[in-house]
């Protein structure tokens, strides 16, 4: 099965889950006494809360997918990243990391341009030029030492800069927390990357056995995120992460 077929399947799967999922409340046993402490005991009727006002109409699906991702992460993704960190020396890992960031730089450039952030666009362009040459095809990152620091931009941020709100919260398979806006952005970025196919890298990568460059991209991505599912220490992790994700994206848009 080629990668496009997998992509199509995942999309169909997500779409059907969204359509089929309602958001079931938890069910008390029939005849059970009501809880002793209720909503009315802790808040006045005119009072508000941050969490109840977050727009999450697909919560049933989102929670299901969050949990699916947690399982995927626990049994496959995180162990792969952990093994990668244990067995590959640090200089090789940072080489991979630099390379993967470098091939993504083109997305930072076009998004910074669309956001009319010319300095960021210039810096990212400079980085790409310096790192692709002096940095030996991106394995090293001399640009940072020259003061051109890395700044990630994506199309979700671009939409955000132009005033598009996040829309419904949306947990993506594998990628995790997102929103309708940011998931759209991800798709647009992917399309740009796909059709641009800079130096033929993308088509080269997808022709490799097991598409290993893409797998390496995913593992590098995971290895550089300091997050573990269900380790926050709260039974309400889903709600906390949802809030933090939305705030964090707001930070990124402002930057």
């Amino acid at each position: 099965m080629n990668i496009n077929a997998i992509r199509l399947l995942v999309t169909a799967f997500v779409a059907s889950s969204v359509i089929l999922s309602g958001c079931a409340a938890s069910r008390p046993q029939e005849g059970a006494d009501p809880a002793r402490r209720q909503l009315g005991d802790v808040m006045a009727p005119e009072d508000t809360t941050l969490f109840a006002s977050t727009y999450d109409p697909w919560e049933g699906y989102n929670r299901w997918m969050y949990n699916f991702n947690a399982r995927f992460d626990r049994y496959l993704f995180a162990p792969a990243a952990e093994g990668y960190k244990r067995f590959l020396p640090k200089f090789m890992r940072s080489g991979v990391h630099n390379f993967m960031r470098n091939i993504r730089e083109v997305l930072n450039v076009y998004n910074a341009l669309l956001q009319a952030r010319l300095r960021t666009a210039g810096r990212s362009t400079g980085r790409f030029a310096v790192n692709s040459t002096l940095g030996l095809a991106g394995f090293f990152d001399p640009a940072t030492e020259m003061g051109m620091y890395y700044q990630r931009e994506d199309f979700g941020q671009t939409l955000g800069v132009w005033g598009v709100g996040p829309g419904p919260y949306f947990v993506l398979p594998i990628f995790g927390p997102s929103s309708l806006r940011d998931a759209t952005g991800l798709g647009v970025d992917y399309a740009v990357w796909y059709y641009l196919d800079l130096f033929g890298y993308r088509s080269w990568a997808s022709d490799q056995p097991l598409v290993w460059p893409n797998l390496l991209y995913a593992i590098d991505l995971r290895a550089n995120v300091d997050f573990r599912y269900y380790e926050m220490g709260s039974v309400y992790e889903y709600l906390w992460i949802r809030q933090l994700y939305l705030e964090y994206r707001q930070f990124e848009i402002q930057r």
């Binding site: 958001c23 409340a25 938890s26 809880a35 802790v42 009072d47 402002q254």
Partner: protein, 433 residues
């Protein structure tokens, strides 16, 4: 507070770390107790605690094999703890995490690194008040009473040693330490070990322990609830906080780690007042209390915020429980969940009995007479009620070290503190750290 977005590795360069020096010979920044608690120790003032490679193993125990774990907490099917083994014979030290904390987190990381570099086998355990411990290893489901919690903890230590560690590690001596609530439990573990002698701990160090869990919890409750009473106020606070942090973040260049260095910079620039810092500390504690309230209620089937017998599906919308438990202070956890649970088996037991058993007062005699237990604390620790530090000074005498500042655990990674902690166990960091 345990949740960190590590945006990337590179840290913000500290240009003038001595800008806030006090005029005594303790070099920790001149921050008050609230600020020190939130910021903790900037990197430049820590010893070099970096570790090469990944020399640790995550291990797990089935503490109660017959216990049925609810489906929606499948991920806490076993008790997980972290081991940093040395090659060859070495002393072993158990670390006990603070309230609500698991085996990881910033303070635990400091302890793992310091003891590992000093040549110990290090075994980090979650707090009995943590989510995973409550589900997998708590015999009551309502942690807080220190003698019972310590029996649970001691059971885990013994099991970890007998089933797993004794087969892999060569151990010369056993030690134990913990911070915050884990510090108080260290005292209890030392006492229990005197009787049971499973380990014959040579020494134990209590770092920033509460004297009375109840008093400290009431203080932490008040930090939040004296400043915020309604959801509208909470939203305003959250909005201001995220706006301020967002602006600071937007001004950063390159990769930022939202750790002490970033917070220290923000603090120096914005100078938030103590009311805001206290609210933030209270909020972090409320997140812990929120989880404890919910899990204790479900585990003991008390019908407090979740009706008895409720079957929650993974996909269930639990926002209502979230709000109610989020607005349930620790005081009510104690009064409405913990006390009634203990009264089920012993109707005579009173609030005061249990408050006593949740404090160091009930092991005062042991703490006064033992020469194996030491203390490291701060004058300005914000979880201490007036007079409690004095009580500790009186009880520990010259076995207690009281630092002039540092708030609650804020100075744990400061170089003098690390040095003192290791010296207590007769150890030190390698040259050049």
């Amino acid at each position: 507070m345990k949740f960190r977005f590590s945006v990337a590795i590179a840290a913000v360069v500290m240009t003038s770390s001595s800008a806030l020096a006090a005029d005594d010979d303790y070099g920790f920044p001149d921050l008050d107790g609230f600020a020190a608690t939130v910021i903790a120790t900037p990197k430049a003032l820590q010893p070099d605690l970096s570790i090469k490679g990944r020399p640790f193993r995550l291990r797990s125990l089935e503490v109660f094999p017959d216990r049925e774990i609810p489906k929606y907490v499948w991920y806490h099917d076993k008790l997980r703890y972290l081991v940093f083994p040395q090659k060859g014979p070495a002393p072993l030290i158990f670390l006990i995490a603070g309230t609500g904390s698991s085996y990881h987190g910033p303070h635990m990381t400091t302890l793992y690194a310091a003891f590992y570099l000093a040549g110990f086998h290090v075994v980090g355990l979650p707090s009995p008040t943590s989510f995973q411990f409550m589900v997998t290893a708590s015999s009551t489901g309502v942690p807080g009473v220190l003698d019972d919690d310590t029996r649970d903890l001691y059971r885990v230590m013994k099991m970890a040693w007998e089933k797993q560690l004794s087969k892999r590690l060569e151990v010369t001596d056993f030690y134990v330490t913990g911070y915050s609530l884990g510090g108080a439990q260290t005292g209890y573990v030392m006492m229990l070990d005197e009787q049971e002698k499973a380990f014959n701990f040579k020494k134990g160090l209590m770092i920033n322990p509460p004297v009375s869990l109840y008093n400290s919890a009431l203080l932490l409750d008040s930090y939040l609830r004296e400043n915020i009473t309604t959801g509208t106020e909470a939203m305003l606070f959250w909005d201001n906080l995220t706006r301020a942090m967002g602006e600071e973040y937007a001004n950063t260049r390159g990769a930022v780690n939202l750790g002490p260095d970033f917070l220290y910079q923000v603090y120096r620039k914005r100078r938030p007042d103590d009311e805001n810092l206290a609210t933030l500390i209270g909020l972090a504690f409320a997140i812990t209390a929120q989880n404890m309230v919910t899990m204790a209620d479900v585990l003991t089937q008390s019908g407090y915020i979740v009706p008895v017998g409720t079957t929650a599906k993974l996909t269930a919308d639990v926002t209502d429980y979230f709000i109610v438990s989020g607005r349930t202070p620790f005081r009510l956890y104690f009064k409405d969940l913990l006390v009634p649970y203990y009264q089920r088996s012993n109707p005579e037991i009173t609030d005061d009995d249990l408050i006593q058993r949740a404090s160091l007062y009930s092991i005062e005699e042991f703490l006064r007479t033992t020469d194996k237990v030491g203390l490291s604390h701060n004058v300005d620790d914000i979880i201490m009620k007036e007079g409690e530090i004095d009580w500790l000074v009186d009880v520990f005498g010259d076995r207690g070290k009281i630092w002039p500042r540092g708030g609650h655990c804020g100075n744990m990674a400061y170089r003098d503190n690390v040095e003192h902690m290791l010296a207590f166990f007769g150890a030190s960091l390698p040259e050049g750290r």
